[in-house]
Amino acid sequence: MDESGEKIATNIRKGVLEYCVLAMLAQREMYGLELAEALVERNLTASEGSLYPLLARLKAAGLVDTRWEGGDSGRRRKYYEITQRGSEQLAQFATVWNEISGQVQELLEDQHA
C-alpha cells in the first residue's frame, strides 16, 4: 500500500478499532497480548501498544470488565470480557456500520457502472 492508501486505512481503523475489540471479546474473553496479536494479524492496527489506552477507556466506560486468572505457565493474566453495555454498544455499531458500508458500497459500484 502506498502512503496515501496507508493514511486512508489509518483513519478508518481509528474509528472502528474499539468496536473490533468489542467484537473479538464478544466471542470469548481474551488477555492483552492475545488481543493485540489478533488485531495485528487482521491488519486492524499498526502498533500493538495503542490497544492498551483503548482498553483502559473501554473499561472506564463500563463496556469491558477485567478478571485475573492464573495462566498455563503459572503467570497471572488479566483477562478482558465484554459487559452487557458493551454488547449493546456493539449491536448499535453493527447497525450503523451495515448502513454506512452498504451506502458506500453502492456509491463505489455506481462509479464503475
Partner: protein
C-alpha cells in the same frame, strides 16, 4: 533468562511511556503501564526478543496520544466540567466579595433614593443606616454572589437550568441596580456565564474548544495588546509621561498578548493574575480611575479564566489523587 542489556531496553521504554503519560490521572496511567508491562512479559514468554516486542508496540508518543484522545471524550469531560465549575465558584466568591465591598462603600453617594421606587430592595436602607449597618448592607450586596456560587455546587445536568437562570437574572440586575452600582457586578456576571458554558452538556467539548480556539485567542490578544500599545504610543508621542513602571508594564502586557495568541499556559495564567490584581487594586485604592481599572480587571480576569480553564487547561490544578 533475562539478560541485563535486554531489560534495560524495556525499562527505558516503560520509563518513557510513564513520562509521556504524566498528565493522566494516576489510576489510568498505572493501568496502561501495568498492561504494557504484562504484554512485554507475555511476549517474552512466546520467545519474541525485546527489540521485536518494543518495535511492535509502537512509539510511546503514539500510545500516549491515543490515551489523551480518549481522555478528551465523554467520561472525563464530566470531571472537567465539575472542575471548571469549582474553579469558577471560587472566582465568583472573589469577584462577588469585591463588588459587594465597592457597592457598600459607594451606595450612600449614589443618590438613588430619590429616583428609586419604594418597594425595591435597595431603597430599604438609607444613608444613615448604611453607615450604621455597613455589614448588613454588604450582606445584601452579597446576594448576587450567593446566586452564582450555588451554580457551582449543584449537579451538572439538572443544575444547568439554574445556572442559565442565575446568569440571566444577574445580567438583568446590572441594569436594575443602575449602572453606578451594577457595573461592579460585571465580573460576577461574566463568571456566571462562564459557568453556563462549563456546565453545557456537550458530547465533545474539547473538539469544540479546538475549533474556536484560534479565533478567540487572536481576539483576546488584540484586547490585551490594546493597553500596552496605547501606553507606548502615548510615551512616544509625549502625550503621556511614562514613569518608571510604564515600560515594564507595557512589556509584560505585550508578552501576555503574544503569549495568549500562541496559547502559552503562562500567558493565560498571567492574565488571570493581572485581572485579580487590578480588581483588588481598584477596591483598595479607589480614585478617579476606579471604574476603568475595574473594567480592565474584569476583562483580564475573564480572558484569563477562559485560557486557564479551556484553551490550555492548567492540568496540575486537576491532580488531586
Amino acid at each position: 533468562m533475562r539478560k541485563p542489556k535486554k531489560q534495560s531496553l524495556v525499562a527505558r521504554y516503560l520509563e518513557e511511556l510513564d513520562s509521556e503519560l504524566r498528565n493522566l490521572p494516576a489510576a489510568q496511567r498505572q493501568a496502561v503501564l501495568a498492561d504494557v508491562a504484562e504484554h512485554i512479559d507475555e511476549a517474552r514468554g512466546e520467545g519474541r526478543t525485546d527489540a521485536q516486542i518494543i518495535d511492535a508496540l509502537g512509539s510511546v508518543k503514539d500510545i500516549a496520544g491515543m490515551m489523551s484522545e480518549s481522555v478528551g471524550e465523554e467520561k472525563v469531560s464530566g470531571a472537567d466540567a465539575r472542575y471548571r465549575l469549582k474553579a469558577l465558584g471560587i472566582a465568583a466568591v472573589f469577584v462577588g466579595l469585591l463588588a459587594a465591598a465597592v457597592d457598600t462603600w459607594l451606595y450612600p453617594s449614589t443618590g438613588l433614593e430619590e429616583v428609586w421606587p419604594d418597594w425595591l430592595p435597595s431603597s430599604w436602607i438609607n444613608y444613615g443606616m448604611s453607615a450604621d449597618f455597613g455589614a448588613g448592607l454588604m450582606l445584601l450586596f452579597m446576594i448576587p454572589t450567593a446566586l452564582v456560587v450555588v451554580g457551582a455546587v449543584i449537579p451538572l445536568g439538572k443544575g444547568q437550568v439554574y445556572r442559565v437562570l442565575a446568569a440571566l437574572v444577574l445580567s438583568a440586575a446590572i441594569f436594575l441596580l443602575g449602572l453606578n452600582l451594577g457595573v461592579f457586578y460585571l465580573p460576577l456576571v461574566l463568571v456566571g456565564w462562564l459557568m453556563v458554558a462549563a456546565g453545557a452538556a456537550n458530547r465533545n467539548p474539547e473538539r469544540r474548544v479546538k475549533q474556536i480556539s484560534l479565533g478567540w485567542r487572536l481576539l483576546a490578544a488584540l484586547v490585551v495588546l490594546l493597553a500596552p500599545a496605547m501606553l507606548i504610543a502615548g510615551m512616544v508621542s509625549g502625550a503621556a509621561v511614562g514613569d518608571g513602571f510604564s515600560v515594564p508594564i507595557a512589556a509584560v502586557l505585550g508578552l501576555c498578548g503574544v503569549g495568549v495568541a500562541l496559547n502559552w499556559k503562562a500567558a493565560h495564567a498571567a492574565l488571570l493574575v493581572i485581572g485579580v490584581l487590578l480588581l483588588a487594586m481598584s477596591v483598595f485604592s479607589m480614585g478617579m480611575m476606579v471604574l476603568a481599572v475595574w473594567l480592565a480587571g474584569a476583562i483580564y480576569l475573564f480572558l484569563g479564566l477562559v485560557g486557564v480553564l479551556w484553551l490550555n487547561p492548567v492540568r496540575w490544578l486537576y491532580r488531586k489523587n
